[in-house]
C-alpha cells in the first residue's frame, strides 16, 4: 500500500472582507478551513455530504455548500459567512427576524438557513410561501422550525418592499 501525501501550502482566502492566509493540504474543504483553521465556526458541519445545507456560505454573492467546496478552489473569490452579516452589534434584518419569529430552536442549522434566506429574497424566489418553501428546501431544520422560518423571510421581504 502506498499513499501519496500532498504537501500543505499557503492558501489565501478573502473572508468577510478580510484577507487570510492559511496553510492547508489540498484536500481540506472550505468548511474545515473555516472551522478548524480560522476559528470561524459559525458555518456548521451537519453532514459533510452536501445534503443538509448547514454549511451554506456565499461565494461571489451566490450561496454554496462549504463542505463540497475545496478551500483552495475558493481562493481568489469573495467568501461571506454568517460572521460577516452583522455590522458590529447591528444585526442584519434577517438575523433580527429569525429571533423575532423564533425561527430556530437548537440553532445548529440557523447560520445556513439565514445565509440561504437572504439569497432566496435576492434571487427573487420569495414571492409566495410555496416559492419560499421550495427554495429553502436545501436547508434541513431537524427541530422543524419551518413555518417560523417562512414567517421570518416573509417579514424581511415585506419590510424591504420586495427589494433585497
Amino acid at each position: 500500500m502506498t499513499t501519496v501525501e500532498a504537501a500543505a501550502t499557503e492558501v489565501p482566502l478573502r473572508i468577510n472582507g478580510r484577507q487570510h492566509v492559511v496553510v492547508l493540504e489540498p484536500r481540506v474543504s472550505l468548511l474545515d478551513a473555516l472551522r478548524e483553521h480560522l476559528d470561524l465556526t459559525g458555518s456548521k458541519k451537519g453532514c459533510d455530504q452536501g445534503t443538509c445545507g448547514s454549511c451554506t456560505v456565499w461565494i461571489d454573492g451566490r450561496r454554496v455548500l462549504a463542505c463540497l467546496t475545496l478551500a483552495a478552489a475558493a481562493s481568489g473569490h469573495d467568501i461571506v459567512t454568517i460572521e460577516g452579516l452583522a455590522d458590529g452589534d447591528q444585526l442584519h434584518p434577517m438575523q433580527r427576524a429569525f429571533i423575532e419569529y423564533d425561527a430556530f430552536q437548537c440553532g445548529y442549522c440557523t447560520s445556513g438557513q439565514i445565509m440561504s434566506a437572504i439569497k432566496v429574497i435576492e434571487e427573487g424566489n420569495a414571492a409566495t410561501d410555496e416559492d419560499i418553501s421550495e427554495f429553502m428546501s436545501g436547508n434541513i431544520c431537524r427541530c422543524a422550525a419551518y413555518p417560523n422560518i417562512r414567517a421570518a423571510i416573509r417579514h424581511v421581504r415585506d419590510e424591504a418592499g420586495g427589494r433585497p
Partner: protein, 749 residues
C-alpha cells in the same frame, strides 16, 4: 409583572443568529488532535486481524489504537435511563475490549492524527480481517426466537401491564377491532453530530460534550475509566439538537477520553453522518397489534396491546408502548405485553415521543376503525371513553383531554366533515381529515434537583444549574423563572448552565427538562428572596424593619410591605448597607414520590387534513392543528415552537422516516440524509397550536408538565386516519410510503 408566561425571545438568540454560539466540536484548544473511529463492517463474528501498518505510517498519524492498545474499562456498563440521575450508558456493552463483533459499525479501531483529514484518511487505511457468523438484524429473521420481556429500561419498568380479564372482555364485546402494524426503525439525526473534545490535566479530565445530560456523561465516563466523579468535568455550551440521540452516554465519549490520555493531547471527535446510524441508538424496528372490544354505544370493554421489537444482544430494551393505551380511556380489562428478539444491533434508545408515540398510533388508529364500525363520530367516541381517573382510581394531577378535543375540533372546523370516506376531492387529489387523542406519561424517576441563586451588590443576579441548552429554550425559560422567584427584572437576571460543576440537575429527557429546571430554579430564587427579606426586616436601617416577612413583596429588586405603605427598600441598598458584596442560596426541588396517588399524563388532541394522489401514492399534509394541556406555559413563544416541531416530527413519522436492515450484511440500508428522509421546508404545512389551561399543583411549584414530547404524539394517527378518510384504505406500515399508498395489493387489502 411576571416574566413567566410572557413570549420573551430566546436569550441565546443573538449568539445563534450570528454564529457566535459555540457547540462542542467548536472548542479550540492548543495542541488539538483529531480522532477517527473505524467501525466493524460485519454485524456478527470476530476480528481475526488488524493491519494498521499503512495507517501508522501515514502522515500526521499519532496513534492507531486496537483492542490490544486500548486499556480495559474499570467497570461493566449497565444500561439505566439518564433520567434516574446516575451513570447512564446507552448499552450494557463497551467495544474494543476483545475481538467480538456484536453489531455493524461497532468501533474496532481508533486513529488519532494531527489534522482531521489525516485521521480520516488513515482510518481508511486500517485493514480489518473478520470471521463473520450468521447475524439477526430484522424481526423476520428472529421471529421464532421472540420472548416476553420481564422488565424494560434496565429493569426500571415491568414489561407487562394487566388488569381484569381481557379475553372475557373481548368475548363480551358487541364489536371488536383487531389491527396490526409494521413500523420501520427511526434514526434521530440531529443536525449536529455527537461531538466530544477531551483533554486531561494530570488526573483531571475535561469533556466538551454534545449531550442532553452533562451529569449523566460525567458519571458514566468516571465509572468506565475508574475515576472519582469529582475528577471529571463536562462542559456543554450549546447542543445542536438531541431528540434522544444524546439522552444516553454512548461509547464514543469514553473512547475519546481514552484516546486523549493515550496521546497526551486534547482530542476531538465529531462522528460522521453515516456513523450516526450506528453510534447513538435508534428507535427499534417493531410490530404492534391491538384488539379492542366495545359495546354498541362505543364503551370500551377490553384492550389487548402487544409490541414485538428487536433489541441488542445485551439489553432487554424496548421503548415502552403501553403506558398510554393502558390509561387513556376508561376500560376494565387490559393487557399490554412487550416481546423482544435479540439481534445484532446496538441497543435501541429513546427517540422523540419515546415508545408511546407508536403505542398511541396503534390505539388511536384502532379507535378510528371502531368509530367507523359503530358510525359514531371519532371525536365523540373519544369523549365517551374519557376517564377522570387512572386505572388505580387516582385522579389525574391535571386533565384537559375533553377540552383539547373540543377546542381542537372547533378550531379545525371538524363539524363540517362528511364522515364517509373517499367523498371529497380537490381536482386529482383525494381530501381527508383525521383526529387522534394525544397523551404522554410524566415520570418522576429523577433525584432531587438543585440550583443556586446569587445576587451581587449592584443588583444583578444569576441562577445556575447543570442543565444544557439543546433547543428546548431552557436558558430563556429559566431566566424568566429565576427573575420572578427572586423578584428582579428580567434584564437583571442571567441563567447559567452547561457545566457539571454547577448544582445537580438531571438529563433533560422525556419532557422532564422544563419541570425539573423550573422547579429547581424557582426553589433557589425563592430561597434567596426569603433570605434577603429576613435580612431586611431584621435590619434597623431598613424601611421595612420589623415587618412580617410574609407581608414583604419584591419586584424589580424593590421590597415593599402591605404593613408599611410607601416604605421601600431595594436589594442593592440592603446589600450595600450590610457590607455584603453578594448573597446566595441553594434551592432544592424534590419530585413527588413514585407512588403518588395521582394519574400522570399530559393530554392533547391532534387534527390533520391530507391530500392524497391515488395514482402516485403521494400524501401531502395540508393542515395540522394541535390543542394541548401542558400545565403552566412558561413561555408561549418557545412552547409553541416545541409543540410545532413535535407535530412536524409526527408528520415525518407517519410519512417519511424509516430505516431498513439489509439482512444479507446486517447493515442499515439508509445511512445519510439523502436516503433517510426527514422533512424539508416544502414538506411542512402551516401548523396551528392551541393551549388549554389546566392547573397542576402536583408536578412542581410552577405546574409545568412539559412540551417536548406531547406535540409529536398522536399526529401520525391523525394523519393515518385522514388518509383512510381520503382513500377508504388503511395503510398497515409506517412510514406510509408512496408505494404503499399507491398500490392496494402492497398491504394485503
Amino acid at each position: 409583572m411576571s416574566a413567566v408566561g410572557t413570549p420573551v425571545t430566546r436569550v441565546d438568540g443573538p449568539a445563534k443568529v450570528t454564529g457566535a454560539a459555540k457547540y462542542s466540536a467548536e472548542i479550540g484548544l492548543p495542541g488539538m488532535t483529531y480522532l477517527a473511529v473505524v467501525g466493524a463492517t460485519i454485524a456478527s463474528g470476530r476480528v481475526t486481524a488488524i493491519d494498521a501498518e499503512a495507517a501508522r505510517a501515514a502522515e500526521g498519524v499519532l496513534a492507531v489504537l486496537t483492542p490490544e492498545d486500548l486499556p480495559k474499562i474499570a467497570a461493566e456498563p449497565h444500561l439505566l435511563p439518564s433520567l434516574v440521575g446516575g451513570p447512564a450508558p446507552g448499552e450494557s456493552f463497551f467495544p474494543m475490549q476483545d475481538d467480538v463483533v456484536q453489531y455493524a459499525g461497532q468501533p474496532v479501531a481508533l486513529v488519532v492524527a494531527e489534522e482531521y483529514e489525516q485521521a480520516q484518511h488513515a482510518a481508511s487505511l486500517v485493514r480489518i480481517s473478520y470471521q463473520p457468523t450468521k447475524s439477526i438484524t430484522t424481526i423476520d429473521e428472529g421471529r421464532d426466537q421472540a420472548y416476553e420481556a420481564e422488565r424494560l429500561f434496565g429493569g426500571l419498568m415491568p414489561a407487562r401491564s394487566e388488569r381484569g380479564d381481557v379475553e372475557a372482555g373481548l368475548a363480551a364485546a358487541d364489536v371488536r377491532v383487531e389491527v396490526a402494524y409494521k413500523m420501520a426503525a427511526n434514526h434521530h439525526n440531529p443536525i449536529e453530530a455527537p461531538s466530544t473534545v477531551a483533554t486531561w490535566d494530570g488526573g483531571n479530565l475535561t469533556l466538551y460534550e454534545s449531550t442532553q445530560g452533562i451529569r449523566a456523561t460525567q458519571q458514566t465516563v468516571a465509572l468506565l475509566l475508574g475515576l472519582p466523579i469529582a475528577r471529571v468535568r463536562v462542559i456543554t455550551r450549546f447542543v445542536g439538537g438531541g431528540f434522544g440521540a444524546k439522552a444516553m452516554v454512548w461509547p464514543n465519549v469514553t473512547l475519546t477520553a481514552m484516546a486523549s490520555r493515550y496521546v497526551g493531547r486534547p482530542v476531538k471527535l465529531m462522528l460522521t453522518r453515516p456513523q450516526m446510524f450506528t453510534s447513538n441508538g435508534h428507535r427499534e424496528e417493531q410490530e404492534q397489534r391491538i384488539a379492542i372490544g366495545a359495546t354498541r354505544d362505543g364503551q370500551l370493554t377490553a384492550i389487548r396491546h402487544e409490541k414485538l421489537s428487536i433489541t441488542s444482544p445485551f439489553d432487554d430494551w424496548a421503548e415502552p408502548a403501553t403506558g398510554v393505551s393502558s390509561q387513556l380511556y376508561g376500560c376494565e380489562n387490559y393487557l399490554g405485553i412487550h416481546r423482544l428478539i435479540k439481534g445484532n444491533t446496538m441497543t435501541p434508545t429513546f427517540t422523540r415521543g419515546p415508545g408511546e408515540s407508536l403505542g398511541v398510533f396503534t390505539l388511536e388508529t384502532a379507535m378510528d376503525e371502531l368509530a367507523s364500525h359503530l358510525a359514531i363520530d371519532p371525536v365523540e367516541l373519544r369523549l365517551r371513553n374519557h376517564t377522570p381517573v387512572d386505572p388505580f382510581g387516582h385522579p389525574w394531577s391535571s386533565d384537559g383531554l375533553v377540552e383539547c378535543l373540543r377546542l381542537g375540533a372547533e378550531r379545525f372546523g371538524w363539524s363540517d366533515r362528511n364522515p364517509a370516506p373517499r367523498t371529497t376531492r380537490d381536482g386529482e387529489w383525494l381530501i381527508g381529515t383525521g383526529v387522534a387523542a394525544a397523551a404522554y406519561p410524566i415520570a418522576f424517576f429523577m433525584p432531587p434537583q438543585r440550583a443556586r441563586a446569587r445576587i451581587f451588590a449592584d443588583g444583578s443576579a444569576i441562577v445556575q444549574t447543570s442543565t444544557q441548552e439543546f433547543g428546548t429554550g431552557v436558558l430563556t425559560m429559566a431566566t424568566q423563572v429565576g427573575a420572578d422567584a427572586l423578584g428582579v427584572a428580567l434584564r437583571d437576571m442571567e441563567f447559567q448552565a452547561g457545566d457539571s460543576d454547577l448544582p445537580n440537575s438531571t438529563a433533560a429527557v422525556g419532557s422532564a427538562g422544563a419541570g425539573m429546571v423550573s422547579s429547581a430554579v424557582h426553589a433557589a430564587g425563592t430561597a434567596l428572596r426569603e433570605q434577603l427579606i429576613a435580612l431586611a426586616v431584621g435590619d434597623e436601617q431598613s424601611a421595612l424593619h420589623g415587618a412580617a416577612p410574609a407581608s414583604v413583596k419584591v419586584a424589580d429588586g424593590h421590597l415593599t410591605s402591605a404593613e408599611r405603605p410607601g416604605a421601600v427598600d431595594t436589594y442593592r441598598e440592603l446589600l450595600s448597607r450590610n457590607h455584603m458584596s453578594d448573597a446566595e442560596a441553594l434551592g432544592t426541588w424534590r419530585p413527588p414520590p413514585l407512588d403518588t396517588p395521582h394519574g400522570l399524563l399530559t393530554f392533547g388532541a391532534q387534527f390533520a387534513e391530507v391530500a392524497v394522489d391515488p395514482e402516485l401514492g403521494l400524501v401531502r399534509v395540508r393542515r395540522l392543528n394541535g390543542a394541548f394541556a401542558p400545565g403552566r406555559v412558561l413561555n408561549p413563544l418557545l412552547a409553541h415552537s416545541q409543540l410545532m416541531g413535535g407535530m412536524l416530527w409526527g408528520m415525518s413519522q407517519a410519512l417519511l422516516e424509516g430505516n431498513h436492515m439489509d439482512p444479507r450484511y446486517g447493515r442499515w440500508a439508509e445511512t445519510n440524509l439523502a436516503e433517510y428522509l426527514v422533512p424539508v421546508n416544502a414538506d411542512a404545512p402551516e401548523v396551528r397550536v392551541d393551549f388549554v389551561d389546566v392547573d397542576d399543583e402536583l408536578v412542581g411549584p410552577l405546574g409545568a408538565k412539559g412540551v417536548g414530547e406531547i406535540g409529536q404524539v398522536g399526529v401520525a394517527a391523525a394523519i393515518a386516519n385522514a388518509v383512510f378518510h381520503a382513500t377508504g384504505r388503511r395503510i398497515r406500515s409506517l412510514p406510509m410510503a408512496p408505494e404503499l399508498v399507491m398500490d392496494p395489493a402492497a398491504d394485503g387489502q
